[in-house]
């Protein structure tokens, strides 16, 4: 089990590295899915099967699909990939990478300065999660509901194309906004 866990962790990390370095959006998203699946495996192994399923269903199955969906709607061609490669210059990412590395090392230092405690790995029943969701965290659930509603309304409003009033031949250039 431990070995499986570490394999999943390594897959997650490698695929995440691939995500942030790909020039092609679709490839990056595929790696993203792999990373999410690996994370789901980790969840499953440390006793959160419910979350593992949610991770696949919502993260991989809905959120990332949404990304792919948008990529398809934008219909980016080879040009975009070339552009992306151009943007990913070495000088552009070496300093941020250095910063992130320092931060990572510092955080790891802080984490390792506390004693190591093994996780129990005991499976936490979805029922328990549900119970604490609807008792202790009820207000959070309500707020999440409001957040989602706001998200729906906002996304709809933002993505809506304004209706064109005049015929497309009559409209002035650049007046579509």
């Amino acid at each position: 089990m431990t070995i499986l866990f570490y394999i999943a962790a390594i897959i997650a990390i490698i695929s995440t590295i691939m995500v942030i370095t790909r020039a092609n959006v679709i490839h990056a998203l595929l790696y993203m899915v792999v990373s999410l699946l690996a994370t789901a495996v980790m969840f499953f192994l440390i006793g959160a099967p419910f979350i593992a399923a949610l991770e696949i269903m919502i993260y991989a199955g809905a959120i990332t699909v949404l990304f792919v969906f948008v990529v398809m709607m934008l219909n980016l061609g080879e040009e975009a990939v070339k552009q992306e490669k151009q943007w990913l210059s070495f000088s552009g990412w070496i300093f941020p990478a250095f910063l992130s590395l320092i931060l990572l090392l510092e955080v790891i230092f802080i984490i390792s300065s506390s004693g190591s405690v093994p996780v129990s790995g005991k499976v936490i029943d979805p029922k328990l999660v549900g119970q604490s969701l609807f008792t202790t965290y009820l207000i959070g659930v309500e707020l999440s509901a409001i957040l989602l509603l706001a998200g729906i309304v906002g996304a709809y409003h933002l993505a809506r194309r304004k209706k064109k009033v005049v015929h497309r031949f009559l409209e002035l250039e650049g007046a579509e906004e």
């Binding site: 910063l99 992130s100 320092i102 931060l103 510092e106 802080i110």
Partner: protein, 631 residues
């Protein structure tokens, strides 16, 4: 009856509100009814309260009516409360009673003015504020009234604001009195610091326990309060505003700049007598200020040509007498003179107003003349007022009140022969310039035809006030003439009485009285000779270069304005000019400049490039986490 006390200041305020809000719509008749009526009812209530006070004095000789809490912050508690004792009763009576007659007079005097209702609004506001001043039971309320009357004085001096000179006079009055008020405010802070309260009664009871006689704090506090009093009462060295204040309508001069407001300083010192007694130095200063003022103003009065300015200088001089009385500890004598002065000086101003009205608003006496026949009522009442001012012996009220002061200036506990001499000499000058004015105005050739014959609204106030100017003095007779002490007995409940020892040296008192009386008569004769019979003497004298210079010097009020201009105004203007760029402001200009620079610097970082922002977050995180790690 006492419970109606709150109506006394409220009615004028109500009148003010009505006139200020609906003045234009009311029309002149209704405005006059509101303006005069509110004061009339207040005066009636005051008289009824006064009768009640005389017949059955309230417990502790003072009645306090607490209306509501004004401010309550921690230890700082101030109520809107009215305090009625003998002292404030006398002031309230004078304010409402004299005020009523002046209001009535104003109806005719201001009849042709387009801002009729505005005038009455200001006057009502003034009366209300003045009543608040004298009735307030704490110093803050007193200060509110104090500033209120200052405001009204400013508004009324500049009443005819279309002439810029009037506006200048108003500003001068406002700014000069502000100097004194600032000192007074500091004095109030000092008193609050020392006693933790601004309630007058509490201060007066606590003061002897907290301060020993001659305590430095007491001296400083009293001197600061004196500063306020000096400013408001136009005493040396802040007397310069009052002659210019004559720019206002004459009823204003009568009410504010003769009868009531300018005596607020007298009231303040009398009210705070408890702490003045703890500071003998301050008492001496008060006496010296009074003596010096009465002389300076007297000299200035001799040469004035404007009838109102003569009266203005005489007012300064008479208030100097009151200060002298306060300074020597003759409290009730000061208040007595205040009351009598209010009658005859209001009378004189109103008379002068009637003359001015009759002479096409001409104020130069030397262009008038021979008005005695044309305006008989005005002449006789004016003569009575002048006699009272000149302290004509035995028959006028002014004689009795001034005589008391002159005598106490010598025999009072703080008195000495120099003060007495100054007072006597002042009386001599007073009689001289007063009758100079009478002779020049009413006798000789009539130069301008009379344009306005006064009606009853002018005559009645003149006659009533003349009556009081003539007979008001008989309620208090000196020790040598029956020793009738109705007034000082009445005042005993509020102010410390003069010791009986003052009247021990009877022969000396006789000498003083006779000397004063003789001097007054002599100076009247002198005035008769110089200004009616042989005017040549005066013109000859003034033709010499020395005489001309002296005349100019006296005319300008002994050069105080000249001095102040050199001493304060020019340096101030110079500083203001050099400091045009305002180098203190540079610091404050620097602050926004700096914040603007920061703003530019930060706005440069607001590039709209999200990656930069994230880089910033990363750098910040590195710094903060590094601190955590290292610590």
């Amino acid at each position: 009856m006492y419970d109606f006390l709150w109506l006394v200041p409220t009615l004028p305020f109500l009148g003010f509100l009505i006139l200020a809000l609906f003045g234009k719509k009311l029309g002149k008749t209704l405005s006059a009814f509101v303006g005069v009526g509110s004061i009339g009812i207040a005066a009636l209530i005051t008289i009824l309260i006064g009768i009640r006070f005389l017949s059955s004095p309230p417990e502790g000789d003072a009645f306090v009516q607490t209306l509501w809490t004004w401010i309550a912050v921690d230890r700082f508690n101030v109520n809107i409360a009215l305090h009625l004792d003998a002292l404030s009763l006398v002031f309230t009576f004078v304010i409402t009673f004299v005020g009523f007659w002046i209001h009535l007079y104003s109806v005719e005097y201001m009849a042709d003015d387009e801002s009729f209702s505005r005038f009455f609004a200001y006057m009502n506001l003034f009366v209300g504020a003045m009543l608040l001043l004298v009735l307030g039971d704490n110093l803050l309320l007193l200060y509110l009234g104090w500033e209120g009357v200052g405001l009204c004085s400013y508004l009324l001096i500049g009443f005819w604001y279309k002439d810029s000179a009037n506006g200048y006079a108003a500003r001068k009055a406002f700014i000069v009195t502000r100097v004194g008020d600032a000192a007074m405010a500091i004095g109030l802070f000092l008193l609050f610091y020392s006693f933790g309260t601004l309630n007058i009664e509490q201060i007066l009871t606590q003061a002897p326990q907290t301060w020993s006689v001659g305590n430095n704090l007491a001296v400083i506090a009293t001197l600061l309060l004196l500063g306020g009093a000096v400013g408001k009462s136009a005493q040396l060295p802040l007397q310069v505003w009052l002659p210019d204040a004559m720019a206002g309508p004459t009823p204003t001069s009568a009410l504010i700049h003769a009868a009531t407001m300018v005596t607020a300083g007298v009231y303040l010192i009398a009210r705070m007598h408890g702490i003045y007694e703890l500071a003998p130095v301050s008492m001496l200063v008060v006496a010296i200020v009074g003596a010096a003022t009465l002389l300076v103003a007297g000299f200035a009065g001799i040469t004035q040509v404007d009838i109102k300015r003569v009266l203005a200088y005489s007012t300064i001089s008479q208030i100097g007498y009151m200060f002298l009385a306060l300074g020597v500890g003759a409290w009730s004598a000061a208040i007595f003179h205040f009351m009598i002065h209010a009658f005859f000086k209001a009378l004189l101003f109103l008379g002068a107003g009637a003359i001015i009205l009759a002479q096409h608003h001409e104020q130069n006496m030397f262009k008038m003349g021979g008005l005695a026949k044309a305006l008989p009522v005005t002449f006789w009442t004016f003569l009575i007022g002048s006699g009272s001012l000149a302290a004509l012996p035995l028959v006028t009220a002014g004689f009795y009140s001034k005589d008391a002061i002159i005598w106490f200036a010598w025999s009072g506990e703080g008195g000495n022969i120099y003060l007495w001499a100054a007072a006597v000499f002042g009386a001599f000058i007073t009689a001289f310039y007063t009758f100079r004015m009478v002779f020049v105005t009413f006798f000789g050739q009539q130069k301008i035809d009379v344009s306005h014959f006064p009606k009853w609204t002018i005559h009645v106030p003149l006659i009533v006030l003349a009556f009081f100017a003539l007979f008001g003095g008989f309620i208090e007779l000196p020790g040598t003439m029956g020793h009738f002490t109705l007034f000082s007995d009445f005042m005993k409940s509020a102010l410390p009485a003069i010791e009986e020892t003052a009247h021990e040296n009877v022969s000396l008192e006789y000498f003083s009285q006779i000397l004063t009386a003789v001097l007054a008569l002599v100076s009247i004769y002198l005035a008769y000779v110089l200004y009616l019979k042989k005017q040549q003497i005066v013109t000859n004298f003034t033709d010499t270069s020395f005489g001309k210079g002296l005349q100019q010097f006296f005319l300008s009020g002994l050069g105080f304005d000249w001095l102040y201009e050199r001493l304060f105004i020019r340096p101030y203007v110079w500083i203001a000019r050099t400091n045009k760029r305002d180098f203190i402001d540079l610091f404050y200009v620097f602050l926004p400049w700096m914040s603007r620079q920061f703003h530019y610097a930060f706005s440069y970082t607001q590039s709209g490039k999200v990656r930069r922002y994230i880089l910033g977050i990363a750098l910040g995180a590195v710094v903060s986490i590094t601190i955590v790690v290292i610590l």
